[in-house]
């Protein structure tokens, strides 16, 4: 209960900071609008798309963009605009899943390592080091390559790659909080460890975590689309943007629209969340606030 109150108090302060920041930081505002647009497109996909994403029309294959088919049609005569619109329901959702799983694994481990320290903490951090020794895309790729190709495998592979970043971030925060007088005081007055962790350690790690997660949305979307491009992720007829670029490559550059539009959707999404993450960092990190003014 009280943990919730504390968290809301913290987010309320953050909300105010964001409101102030939106006025000062135009890039953050642009990123927020773009991200909201993607969410809207994903929710309203059935209304926006003129056709079902997998509706095949054998007589209308590879048509260039026109007023009937804004983004043209693909090799099976599917309306590309509809497919790109429905694609907004895939990559961002996978990114959300990956980040949720990574936080669920990474945060408890980071808190354990930072708060308790000792031998357990040492072991956790050495394991984390091993995972961090791989560039994210490389490890995700190796894992996805030995798993059967599907969006589920990609989600798993990228999550396995991503959690150590949060463990490291939270450990540093938790370790710095663990030694402070108010935590020592709580300990001395017999407050349970779990309560200390939930009330003091976790809320203190929240702000850097929010910033990191929002910055990571783009990176995860790019990683997932890269795996799909290599054939390790989504399979036809899923309207996944990376897969669509990969399929359109065969008809490139003659039928340029097959590659151009799904790829532009990836760029749009990645730019949106990068601007959002950057802006949030500027606004929420007080140290940076002072120095960048």
């Amino acid at each position: 209960m009280s943990a919730e109150i504390l968290v809301t108090a913290d987010t309320e302060g953050a909300l105010q900071a964001i409101r102030r920041g939106l006025r000062a930081n135009r890039l953050l505002a642009i990123g927020l609008v773009m991200a909201l647009l993607i969410v809207l497109v994903a929710i309203l996909a059935p209304l926006l798309a003129p056709e079902a994403p997998d509706a095949v029309h054998p007589l209308q294959t590879l048509l260039p963009p026109s007023s009937a088919h804004w983004f043209g049609t693909d090799q099976l005569g599917r309306d590309l605009f509809s497919r790109v619109v429905y694609g907004a329901r895939i990559s961002p959702v996978i990114a959300f899943l990956v980040l949720a799983i990574s936080c669920a694994v990474g945060i408890p481990l980071g808190i354990a390592a930072g708060y308790y320290g000792g031998r357990i903490g040492e072991v956790i951090m050495r394991v984390t080091d091993v995972f961090l020794a791989f560039p994210a895309l490389l490890l995700a790729l190796a894992l996805a390559a030995v798993l059967p190709p599907s969006l589920g495998s990609v989600t798993l592979a990228v999550s396995v790659t991503w959690w150590p970043w949060y463990t490291r971030l939270v450990r540093a925060q938790a370790a710095s909080v663990a030694g402070r007088p108010f935590v020592e005081g709580a300990k001395a007055s017999g407050v349970s460890d779990l309560r200390i962790l939930l009330r003091h350690v976790l809320p203190n790690s929240l702000t850097p975590l929010i910033v990191q997660v929002s910055l990571d949305v783009s990176a995860v979307i790019l990683t997932v689309s890269a795996l799909s491009f290599l054939g390790l992720g989504a399979q036809d007829p899923t309207p996944e943007w990376g897969l669509m670029v990969s399929q359109g490559q065969v008809y490139f550059p003659g039928q340029w629209w097959l590659v151009t539009f799904p790829g532009a959707a990836i760029v749009f999404t990645a730019v949106a969340f990068n601007l959002l993450g950057d802006g949030l960092r500027d606004v929420l990190d007080p140290r940076r606030l002072v120095t960048t003014r």
């Binding site: 135009r26 890039l27 050495r126 394991v127 080091d129 091993v130 995972f131 020794a133 791989f134 560039p135 895309l137 490389l138 490890l139 790729l141 190796a142 894992l143 390559a145 030995v146 798993l147 783009s218 790019l222 689309s225 890269a226 491009f229 290599l230 054939g231 390790l232 990376g242 670029v245 990969s246 490559q249 490139f252 550059p253 340029w256 590659v259 151009t260 790829g263 990836i266 760029v267 990645a270 730019v271 990068n274 601007l275 950057d278 940076r288 002072v290 120095t291 960048t292 003014r293």
Partner: protein, 338 residues
Amino acid sequence: MSRYLLRRVALAVLVVVGVVVLTFVIARVIPGDPAASWAGPHASRQEIAQVRTELGLDLPLPQQILRYFSGVLRGNWGTSIHTHQPVLSDIMDRAPASIELVVTAIVIALVVGLPLGLASARWAHRAPDGLIRIGAVFAVSMPAFWLALILQLVFFQRLHVLPVAGQYDPNLDYTHPLTQYTRMVVVDSLITANWAVLRSGLSHLVLPALVVASYPFGVITRMVRGSELDTLGEDHVRATRALGFPERAIFGRFALKPALVPVVSVIALVFAYSLVNTFLVETIFDWPGLGSYAADSISSLDTPAIVGITLFIAVIYVIANLIVDLVQAWVDPRIALS
């Protein structure tokens, strides 16, 4: 310093051991039947059984790990399924082309990104800063495979200016044969004074290098901007301002040097990242490096090759990080003490 060096090296060795164990898990534990995947999709049951004993898959797990480990140490990284060559020698054949590509890309990223990052910090929160920041955000938001295709469309298909496939014009093999020393076309043609191949090699290098440079450029630009702004706010820099040094000296001399320390560490990171990015770029440009080898291995389910490349790049990454940490400790002795 020497204690720090020792500890840091020991840590790196520990990480490499962990990396080998993790690749073991990927190669031998996750696939349903590693012997079947190792033997390839067309192997008979007898061949699979033979592979199983060869790989020692009938042994207890700890013994398997030891065998795998000593194999890796002795350079026995398995045989590639699609090239039928030892994986390590495949990697050594292909690595130079990729390293040439990635190093060129990072040089481009530095040459463009450093001044732009500084300009962005110099005119922070004004028009040039906004433009540069948006440019940098786009650069890190580009899927490399898409950028590669779009650049091909623009520069080759529409403008007809740059070649898009291979390392140099293959017709030159008849008129100006290239002697290979390093397997890097630009380096080899330069040291053998083969100007025709050099010219062709450079023009073939431009587009793929630009694509690979995109991400490092964005990262370096943002890093330089942030780091310069941070140091400008520090006491020692503010002191120089109070002492009346001209703005240019404050910006270029007192703030620049400390601001570059974190930039150095990011170079190691983007080097490894870019090596992996070549997986997405090299096939599109028909570049005969690690990346196209990796992409071929993935499409032919060549587990030994995939695991070998993974191990190779991870070890490069660990070494690069080690070097960066040691250089930083040498530049800033406080790091070694903490």
